[in-house]
Symmetry: C2
Subunit: 212 residues, 2 copies
DNA sequence: GTCTATATTCTGATAGAC
DNA sequence: GTCTATCAGAATATAGAC
């Protein structure tokens, strides 16, 4: 009978947390517009009324998940980029490898972010910009040093970011199409992503050194 | 008074076509879930009832647009890849340049395809596979020849397709994020995409030649 | 073919008992 | 805190007049 007020045990999570986990799963997979509140309730194993009791509205619940997902998506980057004193080449190696690990564990996040950013737009864009600013400054700054030192040829920040994201993140966004086109199953896909942890930094390096 | 039954003039398009154009615009921009049938009717300048009169349901209308968009998305590829007798290096140059032109004119298409493919999944996936198969075979075949001839080092079909799409298509999918991160306005973005028509083939070539 | 008005279903949110 | 029952509004689809 003390179940209600007992200390939180690892397996006996609170109703609030159950709802949040269900919401995170569904929102991340399908996006805000396609998820029904009744779906979340069912997934959480509770009643629809409880969702509103705890989170007031679908939108407020979503905002919560959105913020968490965004933070999750960005924090993987910031730790490696900002905290370590590494040469840019090594930094790229670590960031790419860590980020592919993160994406293997959270394959739906990039599409989720892009999708909701497209529709919600202004709402959260500013929050993201604040968190990403130091990351960009750090990377670009180090690249400019490398350019002055003559280790890379030319260097355009926009193309660099587009290439890094395109080679690292795109495979996860385009996964459904890529797999069909290339006849690659889930296991092989994962294996290729593991390969890319070493390949992408090589390719980025080759691109930076290529005459433009 | 003969307006109704007159021959179709270029500027006097039929009601059916007006609805289709409005639907294509809205579905492609916002995706199936976020578009309201009333919106389509308003955009087409007609009444809601006419939409159902001509297309029976929102879903049937969407399926029509989806098929057309998919065909549009793929045909740009097939013409260049299949019809011309060019070396693979030149072929890549032309495909990338033409495709970036196409994407500048239809920037929302890739995201639309990926988004609806994720949710609809099985429905249209098979249609896509049939159309894309010869394109892939042709490209991969020529690349294998180049490999045997020693012009490129190693070659993995999956990585190749992922890289080509990642460098060419991803900037359009990630545009909202990329622009914020790199402080690039619409005009500059377009200008960078123009640059990429020449840069991406160079980079793809550098990647193919890089030791792996 | 085109419209207005309405039916029907879906969905987010709340009231109120326990 | 949790549930059942229900409301209010939105969204798709249809009936029926013109």
């Amino acid at each position: 009978m003390r179940k209600k007020k007992g200390l939180k045990k690892s397996k006996d999570i609170s109703t609030e947390e159950k709802i949040k986990q269900a919401a995170r799963k569904l929102f991340t997979q399908k996006g805000y517009a396609l998820v029904r509140t009744r779906e979340i309730a069912a997934e959480a194993g509770i009643n629809l009324a409880l969702l509103n009791y705890y989170f007031r509205s679908k939108e407020k619940l979503f905002d919560l998940i959105m913020i968490e997902n965004l933070r999750h998506f960005l924090q993987g980057l910031s730790v490696k980029v900002l905290d370590e004193k590494l040469m840019i080449e090594e930094k790229i190696e670590r960031v790419v490898a860590d980020y592919i690990d993160f994406l293997i564990a959270n394959p739906d996040l990039p599409f989720f972010i892009l999708n909701e950013l497209r529709t919600n737009a202004s709402k959260i864009a500013t929050k993201m910009e604040a968190e990403i600013k130091p990351i960009r400054s750090n990377l670009i700054g180090q690249l400019q040093e490398a350019m002055k030192a003559g280790r890379i040829a030319t260097f355009n920040p926009f193309h660099f970011m587009a290439n890094l994201a395109g080679l690292t993140i795109f495979p996860f966004i385009g996964k459904p199409v890529l797999q069909r086109v290339t006849h690659v199953n889930d296991e092989e896909f994962r294996s290729f992503m593991e390969e890319r942890k070493k390949l992408v930094p090589l390719w980025i390096s080759a691109i930076l050194k290529a005459k433009q």
